[in-house]
Amino acid sequence: MRVLVIEDYEPLRRSLARGLSESGFAVDATGDGKEGLWFARDEAYDAVVLDLMLPGMDGLSILRRLRDEGKTCPVLILTARDGVPDRVHGLNAGADDYLVKPFAFEELLARVNALVRRKYEVHANHVCVGGLTIDLNARTASRPDGEVALTATEFGILQLLALQPGRVVSRTEITEHLYGFDGEPNSNAIDVHIAQLRRKLEADGDHPRCIHTRRGMGYILLPPDASESDTRTTACDH
C-alpha cells in the first residue's frame, strides 16, 4: 500500500515516513505544498497524510484542488489546530479523517489502515480466500494448518490482491502501490515476488493455487474451485 506524507516539519516527516514504511507501506514524503499536490495528483496513493500549514500551498487548498479535479484518494488531515471549526472546515473540504497533533503513532497507523480498507470497500479486518485468511491489521497470512511467513513485499502484493478479490491487478498497479519514488523495481521483480508468494502459499503443491495469472493483464486472487464467472470470495470458516 502506498502512502503520501505531506508535512513540513522535518523531524515529524522523517519519523512518519520511517514508521509507515516499517509498517509495510511504500511512503513518499514531502514538506512542500505544491510538490505535495503534484505527487497526490499523479500517483494512485492508497492514503494521503496531509498537514495544513505548509509552505508553498496550504493543506486545505491542496485538498480542494484534488477534490475539484475528481481525485478520490483518502486524505487524513494532520494538524495542530484542534478547534471544532477547524475540524469541520477540514472535513468539509473533502478530508476523510482528522487527527490532531500530537498523536500516538499507533492511532495514525490504525486510521491510515482504516482509510485504505474503506478505499477498497473492505470493512472487516481480514479477508478469506479459500482456506487462506489474510489479517490486514496483523499483516499475516494463514492456512488452516498455520501461519505462512511472508516478507513485507510479499504480504504487500497479497494484500493488494486480497483487497480487490476477483479483480485483475496489473503489474504496473502492483509496482505503483508497493514502491515509493525511491524504490522503483526492475521489470521482472514483481514476477519474482509472485513466484515466491505462490511457493509459500501453495507449500510446494500441498495447497491449491489461489493467485492466478491473466496473461498480458496481471494477477488475480481466486478461491481454488471458483469458476471464471464467480469472482466473489467465499466466507471465512470460523
Partner: protein, 500 residues
C-alpha cells in the same frame, strides 16, 4: 447613587407645584379684585340712589328714602333695646344673617341720620374717601365704607308762588353741605373668597397629585429603554463580543452610547480575536514539534534498534527539543518585552563597534552555508546611551535575518549613520522572496516567508516580532521594505539618548 429617573421626576413635580401655586394665587387675586370692584360699584350705586333722594325743602333737610327698600339698614319695627337684649343670643345666628348695611348722614349742624344697624352710639368715619375703603364696623363686622360730601337738591315747590315763598322765607345760601357715609359688611364677599381659596387649594393639590402620577409614569415609561439596555448589557459576556447591540429601536439619546459601546466592543473583539489567534498559533507551534517528538519515540520503540539507529533517534529528539526550547524562550522574551518586565540595565555603547561584533558572531555561528559578500559602512562612532541587552537582541536578529536569507553569491549591506538625535542601522540583503505587500508582515508573530525552514530550530517565526518589540521598548522605530529586484531591507532608527 443618583438616579436619573428620580432627579427627573423630582424636578418636574417641583415645577408643577410651583406653577400650580403661582397660577392659583394669580387667579385668586384677580378674582378677589373683581369681586371687590363689583361690591364697591354696588356700594357707590346705592350711595348715588340715597344721595339723590336727599333734598332741602323749605330749608329743612328731607331724607326722603322712606319709600326705598332699606331692610338691611335695620329699618324695621324692632327696637334698639330689644336688639341689645338679644345680641348675645343671636351672636351665633349673626353668622348666617343677611349682610347688613350702615348709613350716617350728617351736616354741619349735626348728625341727621344714623341707621339702626349702628346701634346706639356707633359712627362711621366722616372723612371723605375717593373710593370705598375697608373698615371695622362698630358691631365688630368687617366692611367697606364710602363717604362723600355733597350739596343736596333744593325743592322749590311746583309753583312760582311756592318758589317765591321759599326764597323769601329762607336764605338759600344757608343750605349746608351733607356728608354721607355708607358702609356694608363684606360677609358675603369673604365667604365667596374663602370658598374660592379652598377650591383653589384643593384643586391645586389634586392637580399636583395627578400631575405627579402622570410625570412619574411618563418618566418611568420614557426611561424603559435605559432599563432594557442595562439588562441587555448585563447579559453580555466574552462570548458575545461579536454581537453588537442593535441601535435601531433605541431612543436618540441612547444611540450615541450604544454606538460608542459597539465600537468599543468591536475593538475589544478584535484584540480578543488577535490574542486567541496568537494562542492558537502558540499551540500550533508547540504541538508540531511535540508531535515530532512523540512520533519519533513511538516509531523508534516499535522495534528493537541497533545502537546506530538509536543514536540517530537521539539526535533527532535532541534537534526537536532544541527547537522547542528556542521557541519557548522566544515566547517568554516576547511576553516580557511586551509587558515591559525584561531586565536590562542602561549602558553606553558605540554602535559601529557593536554592529561589527554582532556581525562577526552571526557569521561565526554558521547561519548560512552560502557564499555571499558583505559591505559594512559604519559611521556611528560616538557612544550612545541605550539598553545594551536590547540593542544586541535587535542587531543579532536583523543581521541574522540578512545572513540567513541572502542568496548564493548575493550581498549583505550594513550601514550605520547618526545625527544629533538618532542613530540608524540599515541592513539589506539580496535574494529575498518576500513580496512588497508582505514586507510589513515580517513582524507578525509566526509569519514566515519560507516555512520550509521552520524545522531547523532557528526560525521559529518570532525573531522579527521580538525585534520590533525590543525596538519599541527602546523608543525607536523599525521598517521593512522589499523591492522587486529581490532586495530586502530592515531599517532601525533609535534615539541617541536612552528613553526610560
Amino acid at each position: 447613587m443618583r438616579s436619573l429617573k428620580h432627579t427627573l421626576i423630582g424636578w418636574v413635580i417641583a415645577s408643577v407645584v410651583v406653577l400650580t401655586s403661582a397660577a392659583g394665587a394669580g387667579f385668586y387675586l384677580t378674582a378677589r379684585a373683581y369681586l371687590i370692584e363689583r361690591f364697591d360699584d354696588d356700594l357707590e350705586e346705592r350711595f348715588e340712589l340715597l344721595a339723590s333722594s336727599i333734598e332741602y325743602e323749605m330749608g329743612e333737610l328731607d331724607l326722603g328714602f322712606d319709600e326705598l327698600e332699606m331692610d338691611d339698614f335695620g329699618e324695621r319695627d324692632g327696637d334698639d333695646e330689644a336688639d341689645e337684649d338679644e345680641d348675645e343670643d343671636e351672636d351665633e345666628e349673626d353668622e348666617d344673617e343677611d349682610p347688613l348695611s350702615y348709613l350716617v348722614i350728617a351736616t354741619a349742624k349735626g348728625t341727621a341720620y344714623r341707621s339702626p344697624t349702628l346701634g346706639s352710639d356707633g359712627l362711621l368715619p366722616s372723612a371723605t374717601t375717593e373710593d370705598p375703603e375697608w373698615l371695622d364696623l362698630p358691631d365688630g363686622r368687617r366692611g367697606r365704607v364710602y363717604t362723600q360730601t355733597f350739596d343736596p337738591q333744593v325743592d322749590f315747590g311746583d309753583t312760582v308762588l311756592e318758589w317765591a315763598e321759599h326764597v323769601l322765607a329762607l336764605d338759600v345760601s344757608r343750605h349746608d353741605a351733607v356728608t354721607m357715609s355708607i358702609a356694608r359688611d363684606t360677609r358675603e364677599l369673604d365667604t365667596a373668597l374663602a370658598t374660592l381659596r379652598i377650591g383653589l387649594i384643593v384643586g391645586g393639590l389634586g392637580l399636583a397629585a395627578v400631575m405627579s402620577w402622570v410625570v412619574a409614569y411618563g418618566v418611568r415609561r420614557g426611561m424603559r429603554p435605559v432599563d432594557g439596555l442595562a439588562r441587555r448589557l448585563a447579559r453580555l459576556d466574552a462570548s458575545s463580543l461579536d454581537e453588537p447591540i442593535e441601535p435601531g429601536p433605541l431612543p436618540a439619546e441612547l444611540r450615541p452610547i450604544v454606538e460608542q459601546y459597539n465600537a468599543l466592543l468591536s475593538r475589544v473583539g478584535q484584540a480578543y480575536a488577535r490574542e486567541r489567534g496568537f494562542s492558537a498559533d502558540v499551540a500550533h507551534e508547540l504541538r508540531t514539534p511535540l508531535a515530532g517528538l512523540r512520533t519519533t519515540l513511538d516509531v523508534a520503540m516499535a522495534k528493537p534498534r541497533t545502537p546506530e539507529q538509536a543514536a540517530e533517534v537521539f539526535g533527532e529528539l535532541g534537534e526537536v527539543t532544541e527547537h522547542m526550547r528556542t521557541l519557548v524562550e522566544a515566547l517568554l522574551r516576547l511576553a516580557a518585552l511586551e509587558a515591559g518586565t525584561l531586565e536590562d540595565p542602561p549602558g553606553t555603547v558605540r554602535l559601529d563597534e557593536e554592529v561589527r561584533r554582532v556581525w562577526r558572531l552571526v557569521i561565526n555561528n554558521g547561519v548560512s552555508h552560502r557564499v555571499f559578500e558583505s559591505e559594512l559602512t559604519l559611521d556611528a562612532d560616538a557612544p550612545i546611551a541605550t539598553r545594551p541587552g536590547l540593542l544586541e537582541l535587535v542587531l543579532r536578529n536583523i543581521l541574522h535575518n540578512a545572513a540567513a536569507y541572502v542568496d548564493e553569491g548575493g550581498t549583505v549591506t550594513i550601514q550605520t549613520t547618526m545625527d544629533d538625535q538618532r542613530v540608524r542601522v540599515v541592513v539589506t540583503n539580496t535574494g529575498s522572496t518576500v513580496s512588497g505587500e508582505d514586507a510589513a508582515r515580517v513582524f507578525d508573530r509566526f509569519w514566515r516567508a519560507d516555512t520550509s525552514r521552520a524545522g531547523t530550530g532557528r526560525h521559529c517565526g518570532l525573531g522579527l516580532a521580538l525585534t520590533r518589540s525590543a525596538v519599541h521598548a527602546m523608543g525607536g522605530t523599525i521598517r521593512a521594505e522589499s523591492t522587486a529586484g529581490g532586495s530586502f531591507t530592515l531599517a532601525v532608527t533609535l534615539p541617541r539618548k536612552s528613553q526610560a
